[in-house]
């Protein structure tokens, strides 16, 4: 059984609607063809409205993208991660100050030397099939996660042993004090550490999970790729007592069912919200906000927290961007204002001209060494290109044109680069081709590339350990492959720092060096907009999309 849109139309509803109509005609003098129209249409319409009261409370939401696969360690796809948070619980979770708080863990202790940790699960934790969550499941889940996540890999390198004490407690022993352990267990994004039953956690990454039995506040109800992903309240889930704070605190299911509808076309989605077919809509086109201003029963706001930023990525391994001066000339030719204005129009409340590579509003915000990209200077760009001996080698720019964001931002980017003295060879492709082509670090003539544009969210960009651009790790780095020993050293310093001040100091060094060698160029920080019916309340502020705690009044 499935319901794509929760409004079930019952025959009784239709009959009632017709009857009501019939009564109202009796007393009035209605023109004949108006009646004819009303009969069919009113009947069909009222049934749409009547069904809701009979169903359980259902929240229908639309977010951009689709749930194409369901294994939180197989990709970093955001929609999949957000749904995973409903299905699976985590050991620790980040609160609103981005500090790890126990979530499934009830109590834990650290030895004085900072190398031995002991954890105990809180009582009453069950999987969706009714089996209790035990240490066996936890250890298997941690082991699977440690083979994939970058912070998990760092923990694995320092791991002496991880063993069960009993069914609900276990011990982790490290070979040196490592301040990032709890942050790892409570990883917010990229690859969060979700606790799965052992049989799921034993599945090699890349193979399909045998089922989707979870440990979270909601369980899977229905999943049809490209159409809908629906979850139902898991009645036996025991939430924590604390109030929710970011991902930490009590995860209380306040609706019976959440349906994530896939609506690819933005305008259709807005129309669906306007006509009441969905309750909550993420990723509204900014220009469509004007349509919402006149609606009394809709509200909207900037979400998620921190938003995202535009990043221009350069390939360090191929000419002309193997020359640091040519890379710096790109910084000189660009400025954030036009990108943001093109994307958001006059909604300057929704964007920020931001110098920080770790996001403005994040814990590691700084403006060090950002002067080059904060002001557009075509003459300086041309001069630097001349100094670098740029010979007019075309910049092969991967320009996906099947998505409006990429199409428009790319059009602005090409315009700026040409004004700044670059020769641009824009390759019009689709998004799929960009994803596959950008992993090619060969010469352009062999399918390589020089430049592309993307937009990671603040959840990843805010932390040097999840920001994909700043490792400087050559072949091991994110596509673009910046290779720089000084940057690697700065990154390691951040990883091993044990106080917040030391972390901040290291983050400043990372930004200084990263901007010097131009790992990427940030082109503005902006918020997505989410709109919802006024009957919907209880959304949690977070850099990821959190759907528990949301209530829907009838």
């Amino acid at each position: 059984m499935y319901t794509y849109i929760p409004i079930e139309c019952t025959r009784r509803g239709v009959a009632a609607a017709i009857a009501r109509r019939a009564l109202s005609w009796g007393g009035r003098n209605v023109e004949l063809n108006t009646i004819a129209k009303s009969i069919s249409v009113a009947a069909l319409l009222s049934c749409a409205g009547l069904g809701v009261a009979q169903a359980d409370s259902v929240l229908v939401l639309r977010d951009v993208g689709d749930i194409q696969q369901m294994d939180p360690l197989a990709s970093t796809n955001y929609p999949m991660r957000d749904m995973s948070y409903l299905l699976w619980d985590t050991l620790f979770a980040m609160d609103e100050n981005f500090e790890a708080q126990p979530q499934m863990v009830g109590a834990y202790s650290v030895s004085d030397d900072g190398m031995t940790y002991e954890f105990t699960l809180r009582d009453g934790l069950l999987f969706h099939d009714g089996a209790p969550v035990t240490t066996v499941d936890v250890i298997a889940s941690i082991e699977r996660w440690m083979t994939k996540d970058s912070l998990g890999l760092q923990i694995a390198q320092r791991l002496v042993s991880m063993e069960a004490i009993d069914d609900s407690s276990w011990r982790i022993v490290l070979n040196e004090p490592f301040g990032q352990l709890l942050n790892g267990l409570g990883r917010m994004t990229a690859y969060p550490l979700f606790i799965m039953p052992e049989r799921l956690a034993k599945t090699p990454i890349g193979e399909k999970l045998p089922d989707l039995i979870g440990s979270g506040p909601f369980k899977l109800a229905e999943w049809r790729p490209g159409v809908v992903f629906a979850v139902e309240k898991f009645q036996e889930y025991v939430p924590r007592d604390e109030p929710p704070s970011n991902l930490a605190g009590g995860k209380v299911a306040k609706v019976d069912r959440i349906e994530r509808a896939t609506i690819p076309d933005d305008m259709s989605a807005v129309n669906a919200l306007l006509s009441g077919e969905i309750d909550l809509l993420k990723g509204i086109p900014y220009d469509a906000l004007a349509l919402l201003d006149t609606e009394d029963n809709l509200e909207y706001g900037a979400r998620p927290l921190l938003g995202q930023s535009i990043q221009i990525v350069l390939n360090h391994t191929q000419p002309p961007f193997d020359n640091i001066k040519v890379r710096q000339a790109v910084q000189l030719a660009l400025s954030q204002q036009d990108f943001m204005a093109t994307l958001l129009g006059d909604r300057d409340d929704l964007y920020e001209i931001c110098a920080a590579i770790f996001m403005c509003g994040g814990p590691f915000e700084t403006d060090v060494n950002s002067e080059r990209y904060m002001n557009e200077n075509f003459e300086a760009s041309k001069a630097l290109l001349e100094e670098a001996g740029y010979d007019g080698t075309p910049i092969t720019y991967l320009h996906p044109v099947d998505q409006q964001f990429q199409r428009d931002m790319g059009t602005v980017l090409i315009d700026k680069l040409r004004s700044g003295g670059f020769v641009v060879d824009a390759r019009q492709i689709d998004l799929a081709t960009m994803f596959s082509r950008r992993s090619n670090n060969g010469p352009v003539s062999e399918g390589g590339w020089n430049m592309f544009l993307t937009a990671f969210g603040g959840d990843a960009m805010m932390d040097p350990l999840t920001n994909p651009y700043v490792s400087g790790a050559c072949e091991e780095a994110f596509v673009g492959w910046p290779c720089d020993e000084e940057l690697q050293a700065n990154w390691r310093e951040f990883l091993l720092a044990d106080t917040n001040d030391a972390r901040m100091a290291a983050a400043v060094k990372i930004q200084d060096r990263s901007n010097e060698i131009v790992t990427f160029v940030p082109m503005g920080q902006y918020f997505g907009v989410t709109a919802w019916k006024t009957s919907v309340s209880g959304q949690i502020d977070s850099p990821v999309s959190v759907y528990w705690n949301i209530e829907k009044a009838e």
């Binding site: 086109p285 220009d287 036009d338 204005a341 129009g345 320009h399 044109v401 199409r407 428009d408 689709d430």
Partner: protein, 284 residues
């Protein structure tokens, strides 16, 4: 008793069709002039201006501006060129390749079997899906779009021409020519082609109209001509998210596109009635 006393439904093109045909011709003429001269005087309309976004039609921008602040009038005028180019190039490409294959299949028995099975195979794949697949494989661009639109059209034209050739080849004067020992190329050039021209011309107008629409459809699905090559299709597609806020982005190129296709179709009808009313059966 005389049958002529009952007015038979007229198959001859009536006066009014001539009127609409000349109207169509004038429209086509204007669009062609726009396509040729427009970009010379107005540029390609790619200039961005983030302070002029989504402005309604005014004296400054006659058709308003789009979400990147580009002038919709300029883009509509320069889009004429690319839409016309897509229509004409597809028509010519399909005419040449489809025509050639059709003649070969119709004239040479040995080739008929293979070519027609191949045509059946291609026609069994819905054209628009085949075109999307081709564009996403070949990469976006004006040339790719033309190829992608042409491929699904070729079998139909080949089939049409084959059937025309099959009929003509059985005509007495062609048979006579064969028995007199004329060479095959000579027969094809002297007898077959001149007699097939009519059918081909009609078919070509329909292909041209269909190509303009297909380009718009591909742009709508995000796999049409690239954004810096404005065509009516991709100007409309870029306006679909602004349908309610800035209807002028869709309206003007949409009207132009419909007029273009309408004019070509009416002209095709006219041509068909003129040349041979029997062709009516072939295709709408």
């Amino acid at each position: 008793m005389s049958a002529t006393s009952v007015a038979a439904p007229s198959l001859r093109r009536p006066e009014w069709l001539n009127l609409s045909a000349s109207l169509s011709l004038s429209f086509l003429f204007i669009i062609f002039v726009m396509a040729i001269l427009g970009p010379m005087f107005l540029g390609n309309g790619n200039e961005l201006n983030s302070t002029m976004r989504l402005k309604p039609p005014s004296a400054e921008a006659w058709f308003g501006t789009d979400n990147l602040g580009r002038d919709v009038f300029v883009r509509t005028v320069s889009g004429a060129r690319n839409s016309v180019v897509v229509g004409l190039c597809t028509a010519v490409l399909v005419l040449l390749i489809g025509g050639l294959l059709g003649v070969i299949a119709g004239y040479f028995r040995w080739a008929d079997m293979v070519l027609m099975r191949f045509a059946d195979g291609l026609m069994a794949i819905p054209g628009i899906l085949l075109a999307i697949a081709l564009v996403s494989i070949l990469g976006g661009g004006l040339v790719t779009v033309i190829i992608a639109i042409s491929v699904p059209e070729i079998p139909r034209t080949a089939r049409l021409l084959r059937s025309v050739v099959l009929t003509i080849r059985e005509l007495p004067f062609v048979m006579a020519s064969v028995s007199l020992g004329s060479s095959t190329p000579k027969i094809i050039v002297q007898h077959i082609l001149p007699n097939a021209v009519g059918a081909l011309m009609v078919q070509t107008t329909y292909v041209c109209a269909a190509a303009v629409l297909s380009e718009a459809a591909l742009s709508f699905l995000g796999v049409g001509t690239p954004p810096d090559v404005p065509s009516w299709g991709n100007v409309i597609a870029s306006g679909k998210d602004y349908f309610r806020l800035a209807p002028w982005i869709i309206a003007f190129p949409g009207i132009m596109l419909s007029i273009l296709v309408l004019s070509i179709n009416i002209l095709g009808d006219q041509l068909r009635d003129q040349l041979d009313p029997r062709l009516t059966k072939r295709r709408p």
